[in-house]
Subunit: 263 residues, 2 copies
Amino acid sequence: MIIIKIGGGNSLNIPGIIAGLAELKEQAIIVHGANAIRDKLLADLGIEKKVITSVSGYSSVYTDQQALDVLIMAYAGLRNKRIVELCQQHGINAIGLSGLDGKVIQGRRNAGIKTYEGGKLKIIRDFSGKPQVINKSLLQLLLDNGYTPVLSVPLIDENNFAINSENDDIVNLLQETFQAEKIIQFIEAPGFLDNEQDPASLIKSISPAELKKREEQVSGRMKRKMLALTKLFESGAHQVIISDGRRERPLQDALNGEGTVIQ
Amino acid sequence: MIIIKIGGGNSLNIPGIIAGLAELKEQAIIVHGANAIRDKLLADLGIEKKVITSVSGYSSVYTDQQALDVLIMAYAGLRNKRIVELCQQHGINAIGLSGLDGKVIQGRRNAGIKTYEGGKLKIIRDFSGKPQVINKSLLQLLLDNGYTPVLSVPLIDENNFAINSENDDIVNLLQETFQAEKIIQFIEAPGFLDNEQDPASLIKSISPAELKKREEQVSGRMKRKMLALTKLFESGAHQVIISDGRRERPLQDALNGEGTVIQ
């Protein structure tokens, strides 16, 4: 099995990724984002994207019911169904599911974020959390019957409410559950860059051990990314390929080692 | 089995319908609309709802790719996932599917609508059509494993493109395929009214034969509605209940014969 993570950017060649998957004829689970669609929808609807900063300086999107409505429309709605449509056009019998559907991705809602509001310490709770359990029997049932799952947020929390979550955490839980041979992550860059500003600084290959060492040297978004990758190997990953999703044949190029190969 | 059709209006008590279904503990397939959400989304996005009138005077929504995007967000996205969430909160393990997912509802795209444009006769083709085949094995697989399907447009056409369709036609095809004992349709009225302007003119019960006779006497939206109901009986329906979805316990009331019982 192969797990394919498709980023939420606008310039990814999703038709190319899906065409590549059709050639591959291997069992796959797709997890996708929809950042760009969500942000455009928020802007078009005149809804401000709320970001909350914790006392420890960590920023995250604040997901209230309105933000969740927009998230559902963008992720589980437009992006998910258009990917399923593309799959069908390439002979892949895909089924798009949010974590709510058949409780396929169950999570735990975050306890709250400590933040300062008007000088006072407050705990603010939104509808976000972390995935805890995959409904493996449902995904296995679909896979065994020739269907390809296409997964997106929201998840379902411990009280059966929709919550937002990080795709990195979902992919990690899928890896724990299915022990895929390969995980391919499509992003809008040539791969993992030593210097984010310089596309020529591509790291062609790196070991999980090296990755962990580097993780201690960086901060912010990069640290989170490295932490997520390190976790994947703790969850039994054999090979992770981070590759450019904007190319003509993104999947074949990724499988040929274009991008960053971590193993 | 019971087929439940939930209209697309804003004032339906969907939590009440779902709570009722949880008490019932009978196999069910839900088909829902999302008219009101779609229309609000179009308005909020400043997109004009295009309506096309055929030479025979029949008006219908014109579905281009942009309208389809909005339809997907409203129907397969927001309304579908929020109904699935409600189901989960009531212990019903629902799975929301559009017709694209696992090709669960395959249709045929309309050939085009004859219309006058600037005095000239033109054939205009949009992304709409009619359902032809249900992927029964997929729905049966889900039902057999304890999942409740929650279905919505778009469908998938003969070239694997997303198309819009009428829910009445979907319900009819489901009835042909599954031969449900009951079909319940929740609307924003007390039931089938003799005079649409007068809620007191509720028709409490009517036979399929009478319905067919009436169909010949009316026109427009009402004729279409009656034609759809007549078709249901041609597809083997035993009992159709059209009931008020705005009540406190819509499903129990419907099963107790509140509304219009057709049999």
